[in-house]
Amino acid sequence: MLHGKALPCEGNFQFPAKGFFTVLLALLAGLAPLHADNPPKKIALSDFPAAAVQEVVVPVPSEIFAVLDKLGNPNWKAQLREGKVRTPEDRVRTALLLGNVIAEGFVAVEAEDAERVKELGRQVLTLAEAINVRKSVIARSKSITDKAEQRDWRGVRVEFDGALQDVRGAMDELNDHDLSQLVSLGGWLRGTEVLTNIVGRMALSCFTSPSSSTTSIAASGRCPAASAVTPL
């Protein structure tokens, strides 16, 4: 199964040996009509025994932040945490902090703060070193710096995604599976803190009436249309 396998294509997406197929696909697209089969409108998922349902691919942070891109322009700079983190003594906190800092990287990307992004890239390297996985993120850290200087924000996101996956992969190889999960958890915690703050502020600006606290907000974080407002 390929799930979870790191492939070197993301971001670069270069296929030096496969150009032929690209041309072929383009030609086929032009010459042959695209057919669609007729899938059933409804299926019973219970027909697929557990063994036939493959492992869930966990969303990467940039996939979540892609949703946030559509929220308009929240004040991301206000969400940035100030100061430099100190490397903790214990590995549990270091693992959590590493995930936390990677998530902070995404906030800095949203804020388009190149200096902060570079600083966070360096912090990722320092924290990775403290849990013996520095090697796995050296190249990522450099790419984060390079792409932040070029203000290639999409590229920086890919590198932070990659850093998270590389760190986890390296920790899994060291049989540090639990610590590896803590890295993801640390990222989730920081991401949730920031997102709930932004969504909360958006809700406040959407609804200024005294009854706003009883008004629901759509899970997407957008101000709901009048018809979608359902008091709980």
């Binding site: 549990v92 899970a219 979608a228």
Partner: protein, 58 residues
């Protein structure tokens, strides 16, 4: 979970946090009220402070 992690106070706090957040999210379905969002924010903020500073999160 290995006992060394189970005994870790930060891990215990995070488990408590997840126990609190779980029902808030699952009871809300597709729509969640601003006060519940604020609650989740405050809970995660406190734990993140602990992660960053190692202090008591206050």
């Amino acid at each position: 979970m290995p006992s060394r992690l189970r005994r870790n106070t930060l891990v215990t706090e995070i488990r408590d946090l997840l126990r609190k957040i779980g029902p808030i999210v699952s009871d809300s379905g597709d729509h969640i009220t601003p006060d519940k969002v604020a609650t989740i924010h405050e809970l995660t903020k406190a734990v993140n402070r602990r992660i960053v500073s190692g202090g008591d999160g206050t």
